[in-house]
Amino acid sequence: MTKSFSIVSPDKLAADRYAGLTTESWRWLGTTALIVLVALLPFALSNYHVFELTMVMIYAIAVLGLNILTGYNGQISLGHGGFFAVGAYTTAILMHHYAVPYWATLPPAALICFVLGVLFGLPALRFEGPYLALVTLAMAVATPQVLKYFDNWTGGQQGLNLVKPSPPAALGIDRDRWLYFITLLVLLLAIRVAANLLHGRTGRALVAIRDHPIAAAAMGIDTARYKTLAFGTSTLFTGVAGALSAIVIGFVAPESFTLFLSISFLVGSAIGGIATIGGAIVGGIFIQFVPNLANDISDAAPSALYGVAMLLFMYAMPHGVVGTLGPLLTRSMLRIQARWPALIGK
């Protein structure tokens, strides 16, 4: 703390210095508590619910990838379902044709999707707005076709059945919980990597490119390099999510990766908060549960309810749940800090 020649008494200064936890500390505490809760959750829930939550986490990782690209870097993608499929099929082909153990398929899936994303990102540099949307849309629509065509590898329309992994016996937990923890680990890793990336220089560069490409270039940011890398990183995340989905579901088929999946990712991303990390988790929850809810409510027109849910979320929170509530939370914390400095210090 800086020394100041203040007329305030030294006792008060001392009190200020040591009062309360900082905002940072509160955030850290909250996050840790959440992680602990999430780690303990599978032991309180049935196998089926554990499976559902695993799917939520997988979708969250996929949506996180999309957030990096569309939220932080401003490049719209309607094709992430295709990259999800590439990750899933990489895992499936390695497991089915080459008997690679499931955990060893994740790095190749990540690498292949990264490379594919970069290759995709290069021509994508030429396009923006609706044109970029079309290019990525082509990826989403072409993927099932290509998957069906190369049926020697992919099993064609019949798909590929995969052996479900067995948990290590020493741990004494069943398969569903084991997969939950693996997915949780990957999700936490993904969040950490994304946070490091996005809260640092790279993130600032990406956002600068999104908001003002010309100014960014004028300031010396290599827009081409960052945009392409953003693409590759984004597809890496989504590809890994796809690989996990293949392991958890135990089956891949072209039908699993239609255009609707790509659109779901975009919807989840927007609803969660496109330029946030936490929003990815909200997005995952939305994608997994809202269609089910819509189905339970209406037999006749469940998709209509899903559509209505989308509309209502966008009206109420156009920046997404985390995008709208996040700043609200920060403001509330600042207000609490102003009123009760003992609670939240500086």
Binding site: T70, I76, P123, R126, F127, P130, Y131, A133, L134, V135, L137, A138, V141, A142, Q145, V146, K148, Y149, I214, A215, A218, I263, L266, V267, A270, I271, I274, A300, A301, P302, S303, A304, Y306, G307, V308, A309, M310, L311, M314, Y315, P318, H319
Partner: protein, 289 residues
Amino acid sequence: MHELLQQIFSGLAAGAVYASVALALVMIYRATDLVNFAQGEMAMFSTYIAWSLVTVGLPFWAAFLITLVASFLGGMAIERIIIRPVENAPVLAAVIVTIGLGLIFNSLAGWFYSYTVQDFPSPFPDRPLFGALMTTQELGVVGVTLVMLTLLFLFFRFTKTGLAMRAAAQNPESARLCGIPVGRMLAIGWGLAAAIGATAGIMVAPVLFLDPYMMSGVLLYAFAGALLGGISSPVGALVGGVIVGVTENLVGTYLIPTQLKLTVALALIILVLVFRPNGLFGTAIVRRV
């Protein structure tokens, strides 16, 4: 040779279908700077309305006109009620809203009218033309699309409202300062697009047969065609749609097996766009810093 001609003509007919929906997409884009992902579903829903009218006994052209008016009003209402709340929100929010809208229309159509295929009457007599290269129905689609295009062109070029709409889309702030009721322009834009979509749907239904998924395949090609031609150009929409139709047919017949037709067709379109990123007739966007 005869087969090649037939493929080209089939492509023209399909292309006219894509072009008519592309026109509606371009209309909304010019009026609101937004791609309307619900365009196909709105057109399909309008077609169902027309079908209901025809089924209760109205003559075709009466049903057509009533549907046009209803669609115009409906489009305006949608803009005012559904799109307005996200007008000042990030573009993505508006995109999500149009996606949701599409889902709603599709689901409602399935609910009200079931998913079974319906027969739709054609205003044109069923006669082959040019030695079985094209039917009158297909020619009718081409003809109506051309008429719509001409009307649109005249509207934007020569009417005050058209000019006002272009201004409102390009620079809402300045337009307001000039006294243009921007909100009303947007609504009219959507209304017109809905009417165009309805026309497209009604013309197309006798060819494609009416079911709630009639337009889902068309939308993708229409989108590609609109972008190929230049998203802000109505002429581009027509040319783009036709090129997409013909290319798709020729590629699928002569180049590669039909199992990869969609993939290759899209790849070709993207290739063209790489060399002309704003489409064939689109204008390059110049950004001032």
